[in-house]
Symmetry: C2
Subunit: 256 residues, 2 copies
């Protein structure tokens, strides 16, 4: 099994190293990941600038290719140029920080997996919820992620299908509540900004929001992660609003 | 009617100026747009850096706020800090270049409109297909966009609903074939890269793909734009794959 592993926190991030060590049990894992942190870059790609690459060796883990681009660039470039053949699976992560609710649409981790799915490959995004009062244990989190990944694969993940997996923040003596299949929470999250003035009198604004796993419907990713479940959400990339499309087609649209 | 106008080509781009002049007929149009070109930045946002702002005046058009961030930042910041009240409509565009098919997921123009919809506002993205053999007439294209916008609004665009409008490339003597309600084409587009070596021997890759409105199903945005229709696609932001979610819930998921 040939697995492409990428992320959005950069090739040297602890989350990707922990995922590599776990995924190596499944087959040949090739790492192509951004050179630098690409958090919240969404589904950006690089068209007008060159993509520089370099070999990076992480001791006791892998030698991979660092790309000075976005997560989605890494997937495109790996598939087109760097891998010996099309991979059997693409994994993106493990991200430092949850990708649930509205954050799914900002996430570079999810974007890399969606890119792979759009290109016709089975793909999985993995993210870890962080809590400031708990020391992050990437190794343990990656081993929980593998339990979910193995079950996703045994359920059958076909070409173009994608699973978004989030691991809860757990204290050393805590266990996950289980694995739960959930939908993406689509409640709006209203950001807050602090207005400030720079030394030259120019106004600037700083995002001061703290995303919290707040009150929401029980069947969502946000609620399940709050309740310490490992959450799995199958995602798709067809943004067409089918119901509205059907309704609007019933009207006569004229150039007038 | 209070309208927030933004884009991803930057506040000085000809497309946003042309849209402003047309939209002014509908109400009070406030412009909050990126300071610089943000093409293909997808749904990125700025969390860890400050967002600098400045007033920009475009002669014979508007005085707006330039934000040194992403299109989605502009929507967030406008709603939270810059506008006197929640707008009645958010318009993003007119983008220089079509946003159909797979490009919908990379587009900063679409991301700004999706951000607005996620926050509970009605929103519209407008993009113009460019052809190198035709001189781009933004004024004429914006007037065609308005014909579609007026019909979208008269059909009723509710809170959280979004329309993705694309205007075909037309020679001066050509007319659009009509207005068509279409779905997003989800056929994969495989990019190509040229491999090169920099003066110091480092390998780099340059995206050499040319997106074309190729063969596809007749009811898609790609086909309609190719056939010179003004295309309208209602979009949504719930990425949950409902069918897979239902299927996976039938299986027992265990931590083992």
């Amino acid at each position: 099994m040939l697995i492409l592993l990428t992320n959005d926190d950069g090739i040297m991030a602890p989350g990707i190293v922990a995922m590599y060590r776990e995924l190596a049990a499944l087959g040949d894992v090739q790492v192509v990941a951004p050179e630098t942190v690409q958090s919240a870059t969404g589904h950006g790609i690089t068209i007008t600038a060159p993509l520089l690459t370099s070999k990076v060796t992480i001791e006791n883990a892998f030698t991979g290719t660092a790309v000075d681009g976005r997560p989605a660039d890494c997937v495109k470039l790996a598939i087109n140029q760097l891998l010996p053949r099309m991979p059997d699976l693409v994994v993106s992560g493990m991200n430092s920080g949850a990708n649930v609710g509205i954050n799914v649409i900002y996430s570079g981790t999810v974007a890399a997996a969606i890119e792979a799915a759009f290109l016709g490959l089975p793909s999985i995004a993995v993210s870890l919820h962080l809590r400031s009062d708990i020391t992050t244990d990437y190794k343990r989190a990656a081993s929980f992620a593998m339990k979910a990944i193995r079950q996703v694969l045994s359920n059958g993940l076909r070409a173009g299908e994608m699973a978004n997996i989030n691991i809860p923040a757990l204290a050393p003596d805590e266990q996950p509540a289980g694995i739960k299949i959930v939908r993406q929470c689509t409640r709006p999250f209203i950001d807050t900004y602090e207005k400030r003035t720079d030394p030259r009198g120019r106004e600037y604004f700083w995002n001061s929001s703290v995303f919290s796993l707040g009150d929401t419907e029980d069947d969502t990713d946000v609620a399940a992660l709050r309740d310490k479940y490992i959450c799995v959400t199958p995602l798709q990339f067809d943004l067409t609003h089918r119901e509205m499309t059907g309704k609007w087609r019933e009207t006569k649209w004229e150039l007038r």
